[in-house]
């Protein structure tokens, strides 16, 4: 008898198994009590409020969100590029410095990104008060470090023969580095930073939901007052911006090599971005919340060691960690497993397009809103929070998978078809098999992101580190806040190493390096 072996395409479906317990618990608690509210929510999407006051308010909010996203994105990309160079081994090697210098820089840089931008936002808010810059800085801190990580990995993974050659003919180290590694790295940077801009828009919206201004604020307030028509006004406007950005960026990604080859173009692109960012910078300053533009530190009464120690003993830390991890795994299972499962079961062109639209809507609705919406139908449990988080990330995973598939050849699929395989099997082995290693690599990165993101939905289930942190923050209990932040950050640091290991494992599985267009995430 042959042993069953899990090949990568089957493994991508495996996380979908988490659906079984999740759906079991969710369906057990389901009831139709929320049907009337839910139908009015859906109905409202066709009739968004269109009066001048609502439109004006949503537009002002959207402006702040766009400006926040753009400013924080360009600052973080800039800082990230510099830090990325400094944390790559090849940089230190060029200067004949010991190799531990790079690994120490990397370790230190892992700390800022171990804390989700929402938590940075809530923490900075305590120190700096209401200011539009709080949201910007909250995004810049983790994003810079994320960009640095990707850049340094990519720099080290490049072919270094050109650099060695240049150095041997006597070029100075730094100019040599730029000349040899600049051209191959530029398209990678361009593609990755485009992706970061999309993320920045989502983060800026989410920060608004947690009270830091912009369209998120409008969405949250109208949703909490159940004014769905007004909420949809903001959501559609945000959707318009988000989808056009995605379209532009995906066009850029497709034509990346052609664009970056023309140097003249990048000479236009850089000043254009700079101009736009500067404009946004002042836009932000003029915005409503920008009434208060000073950004200064206001002292907090920091907790003593004794207080921290007692907080450490009093908080139910194990329970909190446990529920955070369960939330992460369940939501990751949903987010990773469903897109390939859906595409496999419904592979026709029409069905794929319908799924793309659904993914778009899932990306658009922020998880704190969808969790409250789900809660209207089902009895409260952490499963609701997991589904909300999972659904949002299905939108992100699904789009990446489809982009990957669209960019590969369909020879394998034709071959499978020719052997007489059914549509699902030919999809799985024809399309998915060459995508699965990079999909799994990305999935392990996404799980790491989800671990940080649990902070966002903990509130509804009343569970997890995220919820406890918000509760402690609202009690201004700094000792508890300190303990929770340290703990959260340590867990995500461990999570990151595991996810790094896994994604390297899956990347080494790929034979053709070029097929992995999003290998750098």
């Amino acid at each position: 008898m042959r042993k069953i072996q899990f090949s990568p395409p089957l493994l991508t479906l495996l996380p979908g198994l988490t659906l079984l317990p999740v759906l079991f618990i969710f369906l057990k608690g389901i009831h139709n009590g929320g049907l009337s509210i839910f139908s009015s929510f859906i109905e409202a999407s066709f009739h968004p409020a269109l009066d001048a006051i609502v439109l004006g308010s949503s537009w002002r909010g959207l402006r702040v969100t766009i400006a926040t996203a753009l400013v924080s994105w360009s600052i973080s990309t800039f800082i990230g590029l510099i830090l990325g160079i400094f944390s790559s081994s090849i940089f230190w090697k060029t200067f004949n410095a010991p190799s531990w210098a790079a690994s120490i820089t990397r370790r230190i840089l892992a700390i800022p990104r171990s804390i989700h931008e929402i938590l940075w936002g809530l923490l900075l808010l305590q120190g700096f008060g209401l200011s539009p810059w709080v949201a910007v800085v909250a995004i810049v801190i983790p994003y810079s470090s994320l960009v640095a990580r990707v850049l340094s990995n990519q720099l080290d993974a490049l072919d270094h023969r050109a650099l060695i050659a240049i150095n041997q003919i006597g070029a100075k180290p730094f100019p040599g580095l730029i000349t040899a590694l600049g051209p191959p790295i530029i398209p990678i940077i361009a593609s990755y930073s485009g992706y970061r801009l999309e993320c920045a828009l989502r983060s800026a919206t989410l920060l608004g939901i947690f009270g830091l201004g912009g369209i998120g604020t409008d969405l949250q307030l109208t949703f909490q007052s159940l004014e769905f028509n007004e909420m949809w006004t903001g959501l559609w406007m945000l959707g318009l911006v988000m989808f056009s950005l995605e379209l532009v960026l995906s066009w850029c990604r497709k034509n990346l090599y052609r664009i970056t080859k023309k140097y003249q173009f990048s000479f236009i692109l850089i000043p254009l971005t700079l101009t736009f960012t500067t404009f946004c910078f002042f836009w932000l300053k003029e915005s409503e919340i920008g009434a208060i533009t000073n950004f200064e530190w206001h002292n907090l009464s920091l907790p003593t060691l004794v207080e921290i120690e007692s907080a450490f003993k009093e908080l139910p830390l194990l329970t909190l960690i446990g529920s955070t991890l369960i939330l992460t795994f369940l939501s990751a299972g949903i987010a990773i497993g469903i897109p390939p499962l859906g595409l496999m079961l419904f592979p026709s062109r029409l069905e794929v397009n319908i799924q793309s639209i659904i993914w778009g809507i899932l990306r658009l609705i922020p998880p704190p809103l969808s969790s409250l919406l789900l809660l209207l139908f089902s009895n409260p449990s952490f499963v609701v929070a997991a589904i909300a988080l999972g659904l949002h990330n299905i939108g992100i995973m699904g789009r990446l998978l489809k982009e990957g598939i669209d960019n590969q050849t369909d020879r394998k699929w034709h071959a499978m078809k020719a052997t007489g395989a059914g549509p699902s099997a030919s999809w799985l082995y024809g399309y998915m098999s060459s995508q699965s290693p990079s999909y799994l690599a990305y999935a392990s990165y996404r799980t790491d992101v989800l671990l940080r993101e649990t902070a966002v939905v903990g509130l509804i289930g009343g569970t997890g580190l995220g919820w406890q942190l918000i509760e402690s923050l609202s009690s201004f209990n700094w000792a508890e806040v300190t303990v929770l932040i340290i703990l959260y950050s340590s867990i995500t640091l461990v999570g990151e190493s595991i996810s790094d290991y896994l994604s390297q494992f899956w990347m080494s599985y790929t034979t053709k390096k070029s097929t992995a267009s999003h290998s750098f995430f």
């Binding site: 009831h31 929320g34 009337s36 305590q126 000043p271 009434a291 208060i292 206001h298 923050l473």
Partner: protein, 300 residues
């Protein structure tokens, strides 16, 4: 040619910034920054904020700016850091803010805030009967229960206090925890839908929802009214007289107290706040809230 173009492109940000700069910094006179916790109709309040700021501007002759605040702790922090000069706080957040900014002044409350109440509402399918006296709250043990926002006085603090007084702790509810819906309206929706069997919310929000016919009374009903306690109030920074001139704080108080329904804009403001009128408030009224806040760990 390319080089020339490049120069222009690189200069554009500088030029843009120079042209916007003067507008951004034109601020000569002290501005009074006001705000409110997001409690009732926050989205409407935010949109119609100029009603209130215009009215205060007219009476006080200083520039007034309304700042949107979207969560309770953010309002407290904004007050502590001096980002906001006058804030509409709930009982608990007001005390938190006052303790973090000693010397700040409680200047007014609504006519209804002297004796404010919360209501406990239950889904009819839970078969919970109206509770005659506080001890009857024991019947809620083992039920799915939700509060509103975690910092809300009427949606969390006082309900939790009365529950605790009658021996019901959070771990006694189903799943050993209580939910936090985030707002009074959301609590109502979640109990009406049946996802939670019982919830506690601001009595005034409940009444307004009944008037607006958003309550399906065959699905959800009130099972208990809490005893009265002091709640919402306007809190002002301690340094307003120094910044805006002698007697400014009392003029501010007078302005708020003068709002009445004869003036159209003032009537609209009072309506937004759900008030008949504003009345003077006293720090002493909030002693009890402070004590309860400490007891439940919401005040350090």
């Amino acid at each position: 040619m390319i080089r020339n173009n490049l120069k222009i492109f690189l200069l554009t940000p500088v030029i843009t910034s120079l042209s916007i700069q003067p507008f951004a910094t034109a601020q000569s006179q002290e501005t009074l920054f006001i705000g409110a916790i997001p409690d009732q109709n926050p989205e409407k309040l935010n949109r119609l904020y100029n009603l209130l700021s215009n009215e205060l501007n007219k009476q006080l002759k200083v520039p007034v700016k309304y700042v949107k605040v979207t969560n309770y702790p953010a309002a407290v922090t904004a007050f502590r850091t001096g980002s906001l000069d006058l804030v509409w706080f709930g009982g608990l957040t007001g005390v938190q803010a006052r303790l973090q900014k000693p010397g700040s002044k409680v200047i007014a409350q609504r006519n209804i805030d002297k004796k404010f109440r919360s209501v406990f509402i239950a889904n009819t399918r839970s078969r919970l009967q109206p509770i005659k006296n506080q001890a009857g709250l024991k019947a809620l043990k083992g039920k799915r229960f939700t509060f509103g926002s975690e910092s809300s006085t009427s949606g969390r603090l006082m309900p939790q206090f009365y529950l605790q007084q009658s021996g019901v702790l959070i771990k006694d509810f189903a799943g050993k925890r209580a939910g936090f819906s985030g707002s009074h309206d959301a609590t109502l929706a979640l109990v009406q839908s049946g996802s939670y069997e019982v919830g506690a919310l601001n009595e005034q929000v409940w009444k307004v929802n009944i008037l607006r016919k958003r309550v399906n009374e065959s699905r959800v009903k009130v099972i208990w009214r809490t005893p009265p306690y002091a709640d919402y109030h306007w809190l002002a920074q301690p340094n307003l007289d120094k910044r805006f001139g002698k007697g400014f704080t009392s003029s501010l108080q007078k302005a708020l107290l003068s709002f009445n329904k004869q003036s159209k804009s003032q009537e609209k403001i009072l309506e937004l706040f759900g008030a008949e009128k504003f009345i003077p408030a006293d720090v002493k009224q909030y002693k009890a809230i402070e004590k309860i806040g400490r007891q439940l760990g919401k005040i350090k």
